[in-house]
């Protein structure tokens, strides 16, 4: 044979082989449609269990849009590649998962494939849900199939070619989908293991709190080192935590369960819905999460403990300071913020003493900017923290001066850069965020909450 023919032959072989391999990787069979199962066919206790698990999984948060029905999808999840709309997971036969068997549901959770064999975008965090046990998938299925079916067709995703071709997700999965990233650890307590199972699996904390690579996958070498969601920064919740007062189990438990902690503030932004859901599940599960995360945080070093003591001292007797460069910010703080943030009124209704604020120690000022611009809205009819927004009364320049002042006064971290740009972006994105997020269904609990 001549050389070119051999080359052509090899190339053809490779191409055909590659295509076959690609096909083998990308193609998934459809699972037959079933008759939508009758809600009464599911055991009530299983459904209850599924409800708790769905709350831990925060399913309603992504799969519900403001003004829309529960689980009917339609929420635009912003990604670096474009917006992806959450799907309808009500048991509607045409537009939801009414025709899905339990096996189909389990496959979606385990490997991110829908009933018809199409790959699901990993905005649906099956890289975590792959850890969910069969038993728990069964309960989740029972819960979802007993919800009210809502006819709500999926909205088209806003992705550019070729990302809008689902089979490319197969490539992503090949690279990034690990099976069983959670493994039980016999040296740890049952509670710790329970927490690990929930955190690595259903609760998918890392999906927000872990940085992602250019292809949108979690950087597993940096789990829990901080991530981004909806133009909010999800803080580092491991040894790189920047909170002025280190977290411990009791603080974590209180924060996740009640929605606030005296040394850390009130959970708002995207975290508000998470703690709202966690307030309704079994306490033991929330405590288990707190136990596991305590070990993820690791014991705080001497340096951090010393700094925490300094913070507490600063709160007791605040030093007065105005260096010429931040007079503007200082006077804004004194006039607009101190009246609420320097009272003795305890959380969750008093403004947090900003020396305790993690937002001011974060790598960028987004969270602080978001809160200053939009404030904190009350939950309907419930005792709730309320903070007025200053987006309309303050200019970008004023908010930036304030942020720089707060950073300098209340944190040991180096100054932020590009603050004014961040403020401009925050204005725009907060409007979107508040317009489409369903919002928490209950408010942070207070010590004398009636309910």
């Amino acid at each position: 044979m001549t050389k070119p023919k051999i080359v052509i032959g090899i190339v053809a072989g490779l191409l055909i082989g590659g295509a076959v391999a690609a096909f083998a990787v990308a193609w998934r069979p459809a699972i037959s449609a079933i008759e939508p199962p009758a809600p009464q066919s599911f055991d009530a206790n299983l459904v209850k269990r599924g409800r708790d698990l769905a709350a831990i999984g925060n399913c309603n948060d992504c799969h519900t849009v403001r003004g829309g029905k529960a689980f009917a999808g339609g929420l635009a999840v912003p990604t670096p590649f474009g917006a992806i709309y959450s799907s309808n997971i009500t048991p509607d036969p045409q537009t939801g998962i009414g025709l899905w068997s339990e096996a189909a549901f389990r496959r979606a959770m385990r490997s991110g494939v829908d009933r018809t064999g199409h790959h699901l975008y990993p905005t649906f965090p099956y890289d975590h849900f792959t850890n969910v046990s069969d038993e728990d998938d069964r309960a989740l299925y029972a819960f979802l199939m007993t919800r009210q079916g809502v006819h709500a067709p999926a909205r088209a995703n806003e992705l550019a070619f070729p990302l809008d071709q689902r089979f490319v997700v197969a490539g992503w999965k090949l690279l990034f989908l690990r099976r069983e990233t959670y493994k039980p650890d016999a040296t740890q307590s049952a509670e710790w293991n329970r927490g690990a199972y929930l955190v690595e699996g259903l609760a998918h904390c890392g999906a927000c709190h872990t940085p992602r690579n250019a292809l949108g996958a979690e950087r597993l070498s940096a789990t829990f080192s901080g991530g981004d969601v909806d133009n909010w920064h999800a803080y580092a919740i491991n040894a790189r935590s920047l909170s002025p007062v280190p977290w411990d189990t009791e603080a974590l438990f209180h924060y996740l369960r009640q929605g606030w902690d005296k040394d850390h503030g009130v959970a708002r932004g995207p975290m508000a819905e998470v703690v709202s859901n966690l307030s309704s599940v079994q306490e033991s599960d929330v405590h288990a999460i707190a136990v596991y995360m305590t070990s993820v945080f690791g014991p705080p070093g001497q340096d951090r403990l010393r700094k925490a003591d300094e913070v507490r001292a600063q709160i007791k007797s605040p030093p007065s300071q105005t260096t010429p460069s931040n007079v503007a910010g200082a006077s804004i703080y004194a006039a607009a913020c101190a009246t609420c943030h320097e009272t003795e009124r305890p959380l969750p209704y008093g403004g947090i003493n900003l020396a305790l604020s993690t937002a001011l120690s974060a790598p960028d000022p987004r969270n602080a900017a978001n809160i200053i611009i939009s404030g904190i809205q009350p939950v309907e009819g419930e005792r709730s923290p309320i903070m007025p927004g200053f987006g309309s009364s303050m200019t970008d320049v004023q908010i930036s001066a304030l942020l720089n002042y707060l950073r300098g006064r209340f944190s040991n971290q180096p100054g932020w850069t590009d603050v004014e740009r961040t403020v401009q972006d925050a204005r725009r994105m907060q409007t979107v965020f508040l317009g489409i997020q369903p919002g928490p269904h209950n408010a942070p609990g207070g010590p004398t909450q009636r309910d």
Binding site: A70, E380, G381, N442, Q449
Partner: protein, 742 residues
């Protein structure tokens, strides 16, 4: 009012043509009078101020001024009263001047409360105006030597057949109007009304929407200073230490007052006063003592406190035998008036005379209290009502007036303005009392109620008039005046027992009022008083009984109700709603119905509602409500509709959200974070109000008639939507969720 009161529904007779009204007409005590002495009592507030010129004054230039002892509290009273006077005097609405509650100028009409303004003041002014008109005609007849029947009135003048006009100003001579009201009045025929019964735009709204001075908070007197009170942190707290020297040196501070536990600072400018208040508060050290009950244990607390028990209604018919019996207990927490504008008052002491501008509901009783507090003769104190924000009963207004007077005494000649802070209004106002009701009833074989038992536990619903002792300044000052012992408001008005007696006809009925004197939490009158909870209980229970009988809720009520006006509003509301027997609400929704006649003698109101309940979260949503109301002769239909719409929304907020919270020492619901009320995100899609006008019949108070039925209607709709009955107010999202999950 010691024995049981047997209600006899008095039908008010109305003729057509010229109405001849005698004193026995539109009055709750009418029945009493019939059986008593011959001299009839003038109706409404004419009983307290029978001279015509207490109500209407006509100047020589023809200017007509109407005086009412009632206060505008946002209910449109000023407009309605002006309509009445304009109608009977046959003058244009706009030509009248109106003066409201002022101890130097108007009759003593007690409190603007109890939905009595139309009945008391409206009636008095209607009769006065009619009699003034007749006097003017008679005078013109005398002067023109013409028969009165040949004269007519037009635009403020009496007109003779030959066209001669004698203006009212010309006719009024000397003390012509200083005569007592006669027993008979020639009232106009409702069919000829030009102003009454019309939706005349409210006189106060234009200023309110263009930044005109409309409220006490807008008053600015020359040389006025600003005061802030530093209230104790809790009931009974004692000031043990307070270094005021630093505060006295703050910029703008004019005076710091420490009088026992009463602590206040006065400054030249308002923000200076606020800052000084903060410093003063930080400098004050208090000794507090825990004395509050457990807020989650009010059922046990209220039913075990000592009480004065009385059977307020009893009817027996042993032939009616009950077969199926059910019981239920309903509870209501303390609730707050929640006035949007915290209380405010201005006081000035000049040459030994104290003037107080205040939004109190009762200028005369408040004056008596302030005079007592200052040890001044009442004649030396003048109270002038200036509108505040809606008070919905006894809020901090009276206290603010006392505060201002106490401070003004220390700064003679200077007008002192006291403005309460939000936290002070929330923390110190007298709340609507917590209540418990226990109901038990049985159905006979035919599904009709055979026996009905109702018990209500409650504090007093009014700590006024209470003299000085009911005002914080007097309680806190160095020689304090003790809080007076609480007294129940007698029936038929009632307090905790308001609307406790069912309007329905039951063969056996037994109603007991447990009046609890001890008040661990400061309480007083809040809109509708006991009627809110009593109607909530009765109407919820009627639904529970209807369910037991397998009957439609509307039909069930009609089967037990004689009162034709009550039946009319029930049918009207049901029809307006589209209520169908055997109806089924859409998924996750429920329909509810309720009805009451406020105090069993004021306005009738029935409300049908549709509520959606989110099964995932438990959150209830009022989708729509349809109401029907009968207020007798309607004065201003739009004002009436406004009141009913408002009642439904206000009651919805009370019913779904509101409870005062406290720990063992302090009130903890001290702002809108901790005492949430209705916001625009929960407003229903639609509220329809159908007004049944009764021309010529007595005015029936309507400011409080909607709250009770709205609460029960919503509760019944929630029960219909979820299949679960909730009996503890407020019906919060969490309680509904827990009930659904149970």
């Amino acid at each position: 009012m010691n024995g049981p009161v047997i209600l006899d529904r008095r039908r008010v007779l109305a003729g057509s043509g010229a109405l001849i009204v005698s004193f026995s007409l539109p009055d709750a005590f009418a029945q009493e009078r019939e059986t008593q002495a011959p001299a009839p009592k003038p109706p409404g507030s004419l009983a307290k101020a029978p001279y015509l010129d207490s109500w209407i004054r006509i100047d020589a230039d023809g200017t007509i001024t109407v005086f009412t002892g009632k206060a505008e509290i946002g209910q449109g009273m000023k407009t309605a009263v002006q309509q009445i006077a304009a109608e009977e005097l046959d003058v244009s609405f706009a030509s009248l001047k109106l003066v409201t509650a002022d101890t130097s100028r108007t009759a003593n009409e007690g409190y603007t409360s109890g939905s009595n303004s139309m009945k008391e003041s409206g009636t008095a002014i209607q009769i006065t105006a009619a009699q003034v008109r007749e006097l003017l005609i008679a005078e013109a007849a005398r002067r023109l030597n013409v028969g009165a029947e040949n004269l007519k009135v037009e635009n403020g003048a009496v007109v003779a057949p030959d066209g001669q006009r004698l203006g009212y100003g010309d006719l009024v001579a000397n003390d012509m109007l200083h005569v007592q009201a006669q027993a008979k009045s020639k009232l106009k025929d409702p069919a000829t009304y030009k102003v009454m019964g019309q939706a005349v735009p409210r006189v106060d709204i234009p200023a309110k929407v263009t930044g005109g001075a409309a409220y006490i908070q807008d008053m600015r007197l020359p040389g006025m200073v600003h005061a802030r009170v530093v209230r104790p942190p809790s009931y009974g707290a004692e000031l043990i230490e307070c270094d005021i020297s630093a505060v006295e040196k703050l910029p703008g501070v004019v005076k710091v007052i420490r009088n026992g536990n009463f602590l206040a600072v006065v400054a030249a400018r308002e923000f200076q006063a606020i800052k000084a208040m903060g410093t003063l508060s930080a400098a004050a050290k208090w000794r507090e003592r825990p004395g509050l009950p457990k807020q989650d244990d009010l059922l046990r607390v209220l039913t075990s406190l000592p009480s004065q028990d009385s059977t307020i209604f009893e009817h027996n018919d042993p032939s009616a035998a009950g077969q199926k019996t059910i019981e239920a207990t309903y509870t209501r927490p303390y609730q707050s008036h929640g006035s949007i504008g915290p209380s405010c008052a201005i006081a000035r002491l000049v040459d030994g005379a104290m003037t107080v501008w205040t939004h109190t509901q009762g200028v005369y009783p408040d004056r008596a209290g302030i005079a007592e507090m200052l040890r001044m003769p009442p004649e030396g104190v003048r109270l002038i009502h200036v509108e505040g924000s809606g008070c919905y009963g006894h809020n901090g207004a009276d206290d603010a007036a006392a505060d201002a007077a106490l401070i003004a005494r220390e700064l003679p000649g200077v007008p002192v303005r006291v403005q309460w802070m939000r936290e002070q209004e929330h923390g110190w106002e007298p709340f609507g009392p917590a209540m418990v009701t226990r109901l038990k009833a049985s159905l006979d074989a035919g599904g009709m109620i055979a026996a009905w038992n109702f018990e209500v536990w409650s504090n007093t619903h009014s700590m006024r008039p209470g003299g000085a002792g009911s005002m914080l300044a007097a309680q806190h000052m160095a020689q304090p005046i003790a809080v007076p012992p609480p007294k129940p408001i007698p029936l038929p008005e009632g307090g905790g027992d308001r609307n406790a007696i069912p309007i329905y006809k039951f063969p056996n009925a037994h109603v007991v009022h447990h009046f609890i004197p001890a008040m661990p939490v400061r309480v007083s009158a809040m809109r509708a008083l006991g009627a809110y909870h009593n109607v909530f209980s009765i109407e919820s229970f009627m639904d529970e009984l209807a369910g037991l009988a397998g009957a439609d809720p509307v039909e069930f009520r009609l089967k037990h109700l004689d009162d034709p006006r009550g039946r009319d509003v029930i049918e009207k509301a049901a029809q307006g709603f589209g209520w169908q027997k055997g109806q089924k609400a859409p998924a996750d929704r429920g329909f509810g119905f309720a009805f009451a006649r406020y105090k069993n003698l004021a306005a009738y109101c029935a409300i049908a509602s549709e509520v959606e309940v989110n099964r995932e979260t438990g959150r209830p949503r009022l989708v729509r409500a349809v109401a029907a109301v009968d207020s007798g002769q309607v004065v201003n239909p739009d004002g009436l509709i406004n009141q009913i719409e408002g009642a439904i929304l206000q009651s919805m907020s009370w019913t779904l959200y509101e409870a005062v919270t406290f720990d063992d020492t302090r009130i903890t619901s001290i702002d809108w974070q901790t005492y949430p009320i209705l916001r625009f995100d929960a407003v229903p899609e639609k509220i329809d109000v159908h007004v049944i006008n009764r021309p010529g019949l007595a005015f029936l108070g309507s400011g409080e008639t909607g709250q009770g039925p709205a609460a029960a209607s919503i509760a019944n709709a929630i029960a219909n939507a979820t299949g679960k009955r909730l009996r503890d107010l407020p019906l919060t999202r969490k309680r509904i969720k827990d009930a659904i999950d149970a």
